[in-house]
């Protein structure tokens, strides 16, 4: 199974995470944000949540053709 690296919890199995969406191109119209998302083969920026872990929301950049995870960063910074 693939893994994602949570900034808080370290490398964890994918089953602990939940995919939310592929991010639309910046500046898209509301219609395009929902209905005109482009599935790119080379790179995809997505939102995932470590839902069965610390519940952090993550921005994940990955290559859908190779399944390689290019970067995982924390969204927001959590509650303060």
């Amino acid at each position: 199974m693939n893994r994602l690296t949570c900034p808080f919890c370290g490398p964890r199995e994918l089953r602990e995470f939940e995919f939310h969406k592929t991010l639309p191109e910046p500046g898209s119209s509301p219609y395009a944000r929902v209905y005109e998302r482009v599935a790119r083969l080379d790179e995809s920026t997505e939102h995932w949540q470590h839902v069965l872990g610390c519940r952090a929301w993550l921005r994940v950049r990955r290559n859908p053709s190779t399944d390689a995870v290019l970067e995982t960063t924390l969204l927001g910074g959590g509650a303060t």
Partner: protein, 978 residues
């Protein structure tokens, strides 16, 4: 042939009894079902799926396409067990598949005798009138491999997770050399081997390694690996790989039962899975008695099975002469070796063996081919001809016909994570080339088939893997050896045949794909190898094309007149070998499938007749058994009692999210269709959330606890999702703002008190200190305080249409409070009654929130008009949402006041009886009204008063219905305000 006289490397001598297709046989400890049956002279072991042709064993490993058995006795049976891998146990009961009533006499096989074969696409083209569905049942009764068991009664399969430096897949010469080199370098090594013992082709190959007999070297190597701490897992097949984790399936005895799934995360993997021998297509090449040369050698070496008395070998490489020499040495007569190559293509070592064979009476024919196998139920001879003059045929008598068209390196490799392959003309096969980081092939998978080179390649791969994994490099001498000569293969795919013969040149045995099918498929316009696969089912079977995939691609290339390198082979997919679903499920079965969430009142419900049902992860009472024998009857009793007296229901499963901070109100304004910021402290509001696309996501009540603090409730089934939804917006659009989101679902139990006596009962239970504030509560207002020293909030809100209160209390006092309310005369009711009460009042149940309804569809126009710019608001103006036929929520009742209709019934108008204009979303029998009432989503073209037909042909038939207001009961809302 008596089983007890046989000698084989795997046999242990002790006699076992077993039963196959109703007859008793004996075999030995160490036998497989296939070897024991062959030793008993049984050739036919199954019928093919489509043409029902009798079939025998073709291969000796998991690529076996024909001999799949059903093991056990009804109802505890396991279908599709590979006979060559099924270890014999005393009392084993097995039967052949795809035949009725018996293997010898099969009714469906008469179909082929009558009208000829159904070619590729036959089903697609023939059974389209009047529709496929009319034919589906009888065809499916004849189709498929085996029959699914009713009750396999298998133990749960543990999943073991581990890591290591180097994982080696395959315990043949290459794999053992790789494991040895890696372990000597200090790496933590795990080796998986699909057979119960290691050795691979060393089990029968002639030769020597480091001056030892091959099997002695295997024993010595395993002993050294053991000393070095390597873990050897036999009877374990690498079935898949994903994301750096490899899945290996331990299935001892070749039978699901005490399996284990190993999930191994190595730093490096060496795939040494060898190469799979392939047949050559000739007429009737599926007759029992036709077998791969390597399989015959394995059955001989492992189990002492002599596959026949008189053999004919048919091949296109030098290994055939080594094999023939060993078969002769074992006492079999080799009538002929038929070689497709010119005489001078044979290498020196093979040529001397050939001379010895000829001297011993074997006819060795160059540039010849076997055109056909002869015989009715099994091989009785072979028709042979020179390739230059195929009409000059000769018939050789034989009782086994052994064939080998070369080897396909296992680039399948148990993993499909990329990596490339290239065509190697000297092998007539594709070999692995570039592989992803962390993975290397060794030996046969690289197209290396000579023992000396295999050992060197394995050693190099093992050394490199240990080094890359950060371990030392092994300096000791690598094993050296020599075995059978290089194959010197010249690709040869199919013998000459006329068009009628091509219908019996089998390529994929499991799917009965023939050369004629490939030709027909090309004529239909399917050219690409992937299309051909899907049209002919070539490579669809449990062998995943290991027998016929390359052969089919090569013949396709020939028919297309293009090089095989360009045609390529179809993409290989996991799993590498069939895996029982039970093994995939692991321990996550039955009650362990999911976690169960329990409300504080869970035990009370169970102890008091509650019949629980799942809602998301929660268990909630559907009804209480003292009120009726089933949900329908009990629900009516419970609902009627709520309206007449009152009742209590457990609402603890509601999702509860506390939102706090200076920006809490503004945050919630973006999450809901209407504003939260206008709610006054101490009051609440019914609100709905939209998805980004404007569809209604969820509904619930939002309470304002303080200026900067809210409690948002969600529907029970959506609690977890709504929490994520809130957290997502907190961390994205609202990142850095003053808002916190806290899940308090389990911090509060909720008891809903509903009915005309609810206020009286509540006052009796909560006492004088609460009486004033409860009496003062207006609709949607709440009061907070203490009860029994614990926090309690009382909200006046109703989803039943009756005067009702929600008690939000701490779990510690939930049972006490609940029991006091029961003592005060309120009986519990369940979800069935809750649904009745809601539908009577036109409140949304859950099937209306199906992700396809907008707020306007659900009659929430007033909320939209407020114009709050929330999530999803922009897309509410899409033209599609304003179409005249867009469904909207409406009430529905039987025209005659007596008929019934169920949720799911399609609604049609008289002028379009075959085109539904809507459907019933929820329906209940209303005890308050004495008739069935429902909610429906119906095209806006049909207004209140319209008469439609509710169609439900599979359950209760048609019912004439009238569209009504969604509020069926107490339209003025007087009861709620009392």
């Amino acid at each position: 042939m008596s089983g007890n006289l046989r000698r084989g490397t795997r046999l242990r001598g002790e006699t076992l009894r077993f039963r196959f297709d109703g007859r008793d046989y004996t075999g030995q400890v160490g036998d497989t079902a296939a070897s024991a049956l062959l030793a008993n002279g049984v050739r036919a072991m199954g019928r093919s799926v489509k043409y029902r042709r009798l079939r025998g064993v073709l291969a000796a490993g998991p690529e076996e396409p024909n001999a799949l058995f059903t093991v056990g006795t009804d109802p505890c049976v396991i279908p599709n067990v590979y006979a060559p891998q099924l270890e014999l146990t005393d009392g084993l009961v097995a039967r052949s598949q795809n035949r009725w009533p018996s293997l010898r006499y099969d009714v469906a096989s008469l179909l082929q005798a009558g009208g000829g074969f159904f070619g590729a696409g036959f089903y697609y083209k023939t059974f389209i009138w009047p529709s496929w569905h009319a034919w589906e049942a009888p065809i499916r009764a004849l189709a498929g491999l085996g029959t699914a068991p009713r009750d396999a009664n298998l133990a749960p399969v543990p999943h073991e997770h581990s890591s290591c430096d180097v994982l080696v897949a395959g315990g043949g010469a290459a794999g053992l050399a790789a494991a040895l080199a890696a372990a000597r370098g200090g790496a933590r090594v795990v080796l998986v081997e699909r057979e119960p013992v290691c050795g691979g082709e060393l089990e029968f190959e002639s030769g020597a390694i480091d001056g030892q007999a091959p099997l002695e070297w295997v024993r010595a190597t395993l002993a050294e690996l053991d000393r070095l701490g390597a873990r050897i897992l036999t009877a374990t097949t690498l079935v898949a790989g994903n994301g750096g984790e490899y899945v290996a399936h331990f299935e001892p005895g070749g039978l699901p039962g005490c399996s284990t799934m190993y999930k191994i995360r190595p730093k490096q993997i060496v795939l040494a899975l060898g190469a799979v021998e392939r047949p050559i297509a000739f007429v009737n090449n599926d007759l029992p008695g036709v077998m791969l040369i390597g399989a015959a050698e394995r059955f001989l070496a492992r189990y002492g099975v002599r596959i026949g008395k008189t053999l004919v070998l048919f091949a296109n490489h030098d290994r055939a002469y080594a094999a023939a020499t060993r078969l002769v040495a074992a006492g079999m007569r080799v009538r002929a070796v038929v070689d497709t190559r010119p005489a001078d293509a044979v290498g020196a070592a093979a040529a001397s063996r050939r001379a010895a064979l000829v001297a011993g009476g074997t006819e060795c024919l160059a540039e010849h081919a076997v055109l056909a196998a002869r015989g009715g139920r099994e091989v009785r001879g072979a028709t042979i001809a020179p390739l230059a003059t195929p009409s000059a045929t000769r018939n050789f008598g034989c009782d086994a016909l052994l064939v080998s068209g070369g080897w396909g390196p296992s680039v399948h490799a148990g993993t499909q994570e990329g990596g490339t392959k290239r065509y190697d003309a000297s092998l007539g096969a594709f070999v692995a080339t570039e592989q992803p980081a962390g993975r290397a092939n060794a030996g046969g998978a690289n197209g290396i088939l000579e023992l000396g080179a295999v050992l060197a390649d394995g050693t190099a791969a093992g050394r490199n893997a240990a080094r890359v994994a950060g371990r030392g490099s092994d300096a000791s001498a690598a094993p050296t050896g020599a075995g059978d000569p290089a194959p010197r293969l010249v690709p040869f795919w199919r013998s000459p045949a006329d068009r009628a013969g091509e219908k019996r040149q089998f390529i994929d045995y499991q799917n009965d794909t023939t050369v004629a099918d490939l030709r027909a498929t090309l004529e239909e316009g399917f050219i690409d190898v992937e299309h051909v696969k899907r049209y002919t089912a070539l490579g669809f079977g449990t062998d995943q094309g290991r027998i016929g995939g390359l052969l089919g691609a090569a013949i396709l290339a020939e028919l297309r007149g293009e090089p095989l390198a360009e045609v390529g082979t179809s993409r290989l997919r996991p799993p590498y070998h069939s895996v029982a679903m039970r093994s995939i499920a692991g321990l996550r079965v039955d009650e362990n499938l999911r976690i169960t969430r329990r409300t504080p009142l869970y035990d009370w419900h169970l102890a008091h007749g509650g019949v629980l049902e799942p809602m998301d992860l929660w268990m909630r009472p559907r009804y209480y058994t003292q009120n009726g024998p089933a949900a329908y009857e009990a629900g009516i009793v419970e609902a009627r009692r709520v309206r007449e007296v009152g009742g209590i229901v457990d609402g603890s499963t509601l999702g509860k999210i506390e939102v706090a901070g200076p920006d809490a109100a503004a945050f919630l304004d973006t999450l809901y269709l209407t504003k939260a910021s206008t709610i006054k402290v101490g009051r609440s509001k019914y609100m709905v959330n939209l998805r980004e696309d404007g569809m209604v996501l969820d509904d619930g009540i939002v309470l304002r606890l303080a200026e900067d603090r809210f409690l948002a409730t969600t529907s029970s089934g959506h609690g977890a999702h709504m929490l994520s939804h809130f957290e997502h917006y907190r961390d994205t659009e609202w990142s850095g703002r003053g808002v916190t989101v806290t899940d308090v679902t389990e911090a509060w139990a909720v008891i809903v008190v509903a009915g005309p006596t609810s206020r009286t009962a509540l006052n009796a239970v909560l006492g004088a200190s609460w009486a004033e504030s409860i009496d003062a509560l207006t609709h949607m207002a709440f009061a907070r305080g203490l009860h029994g020293g614990q926090d309690l909030a009382v909200l006046r809100a109703s989803f039943s249409g009756e005067l009702a209160f929600e008690l939000h209390c701490r779990p510690a006092i939930a049972v006490g409070l609940w029991e006091s309310l029961v003592a005060a005369g309120l009986q519990p009711y369940g979800l069935e009654a809750l649904d009745i009460l809601r539908v009577e009042k036109g409140y949304l149940v859950s099937s209306e929130l199906n992700g396809q309804t907008t707020p306007a569809d659900l009659g929430m126009d007033v909320m939209i008009k407020l114009g709050n710019p929330c999530i999803g608001r922009d897309l509410l103006d899409r033209p599609a949402f304003r179409e005249a036929t867009r469904p909207r929520l409406i009430g529905v009742r039987a025209v005659d006041g007596r008929g019934r209709f169920y949720g799911g019934a399609q609604l049609t108008a008289a002028d379009a009886p075959n085109r539904p204009c809507g459907y019933v979303t929820s329906s209940v029998y209303s005890p308050a009204l004495g008739e069935w009432v429902g909610l429906a989503l119906v095209s806006r073209l049909h207004a209140e008063g319209a008469v439609l037909t509710a169609r439900d042909p599979l359950r209760i038939g048609d019912c004439a219905v009238r569209l009504t207001s969604i509020v069926h009961y107490d339209a003025s809302g007087g009861r709620m305000k009392s």
